[in-house]
Symmetry: C2
Subunit: 290 residues, 2 copies
Amino acid sequence: MLDPVSRVRRFNRAVTSAVGALDTSFLGRGRPLGAARVLNAIGHGRSDVAEIRDYLALDSGLMSRLLRSLEDEGLIETAAHEDDARRRVAKLTRAGRREFAAYEALSNAQAEGLLAQHSQREALLAAMDLIASALTRERVALDEVDPRSEQARYCLGEYYAELGRRFSQGFDVSLSRDPDAKDMRRPRGTFIVAMSDTLPIGCVGLKGTDHGYAEIKRLWVAPAARGLRLGRRLMDAAEDAARELGIGLLRLDTNSALPEAGQLYRSTGWREIPRFNDDPYPDLFFEKRL
Amino acid sequence: MLDPVSRVRRFNRAVTSAVGALDTSFLGRGRPLGAARVLNAIGHGRSDVAEIRDYLALDSGLMSRLLRSLEDEGLIETAAHEDDARRRVAKLTRAGRREFAAYEALSNAQAEGLLAQHSQREALLAAMDLIASALTRERVALDEVDPRSEQARYCLGEYYAELGRRFSQGFDVSLSRDPDAKDMRRPRGTFIVAMSDTLPIGCVGLKGTDHGYAEIKRLWVAPAARGLRLGRRLMDAAEDAARELGIGLLRLDTNSALPEAGQLYRSTGWREIPRFNDDPYPDLFFEKRL
DNA sequence: CATTTTATCTGACTAAAGTCAGACATCATG
DNA sequence: CATGATGTCTGACTTTAGTCAGATAAAATG
């Protein structure tokens, strides 16, 4: 009763019935699940018919019929794709948006019901984040985004909060050398976030300088996503971007209060060098030639 | 992207596809899911046909056909129930046990695959326990068991380990007044474990004495199950058992290093009394008249 | 012991999901 | 611009799941 596999299987059973309950509530809107799923996929912004078919793993014949039935209900409209008249795009009508909103309300109610079952909400949410990150591990997308984008700002906020917790003297962004956003945009540098589904779970910045090297900044991995080797993937992506931009030398600074970071650098070809800036927070400095 | 409901829904999506993958692998054995589910229910020890039907929420007609198809495959045998010839009981044949083992292997492989996705196995397992406990909250069964049973011994082991962590001086069972198992069996007392599915997640002992009162001992709730008001449910069950046994006065001892326990007692009609034993660990003593 | 209740089974049915082959229009390529 | 590839659609089909109304036999009840 204690072995890991039984614990996972107990989790599976618990979660299966919760998921089944959502399906049942979806059926309450008088439409087969297949049609409801297509409607929801369109509502969530998937317009390309081929993409929906792929996402829901549907046969093209079945997909076609489901679209027809939604059209007959007056919930969607389809049209030929602008660039390729073989492809079709679907969008919700006014009635479709209403119906989609009703499904959204059901999903939200289920999610809230699930949360309400536990008085330690934050613990439950953290556990869910951890599991969702583990399960979607191979579907984590590394996206280059603007360092001022919502995703980037979220990651940086979490990063600063974590430094505040980990440094004995706390962390104050204004004392640190805050990189200029334009140094982390192409062609001088870039900013990469790791997205699991719709949640940012890690980031790294590549900051261009005028001193013949670029710097790696703001490497962060969400607590729920640790253990997935995401730090390494982010670093690899940043180094790839640097190579693309013709950068031959990288530097970074870090702090010995973050031992896992130092270990990552050492194991991936970085070598320690003397201090190369006067930022008060770092006490370890690394360099890597590409 | 940060609000609790989106986090829950992200978790739902992640988990749905993992669960779907198991169904798909079950289909790989060339049998519809309905039949596979019935076979597995029988394999897991459910023999009574009515019980299986109830568990899987199947119509009696459908259930009957599924049993017939498994019988035709030579995987199960059915017979009339010993005590009631209307009822049927099903059991696996030799071939059925082989086939069941194959399904078990698939389930175990899926569970292991899921675990392998995360290098921090313990963190992942703890998160799964937490979620499974929250989701099966209303299905937690309070069972009276022998204090020497496997479930009871597991709970006590966890309980002692936790005391060791929470007491600054550690905890050594041999120094404490370890209750005799026979004092926690009917008719002198009882021992109750809270079972979530197959996992014990809490316990409490009612220990009979010869001094005109009974004692509450070993109240424990697994970390993953805290916040579900399980402690209160266990105490209620223990008090109910005491009333059944004709016990009019209850006492217990606890330690101020366990503040949540003290709070529970105070809020449920217990009043503090002077020390009534010489156990070195407790420093708080309570009494409740039933 | 007659009557009612219960557990299972059978036949007849429907709905939903999924499969497959071919038709058709459009696009990409040499 | 002929040819093959691609994306969608339609018709014909099967499988799976599920429903419902009796039929039957065995308890339970008065």
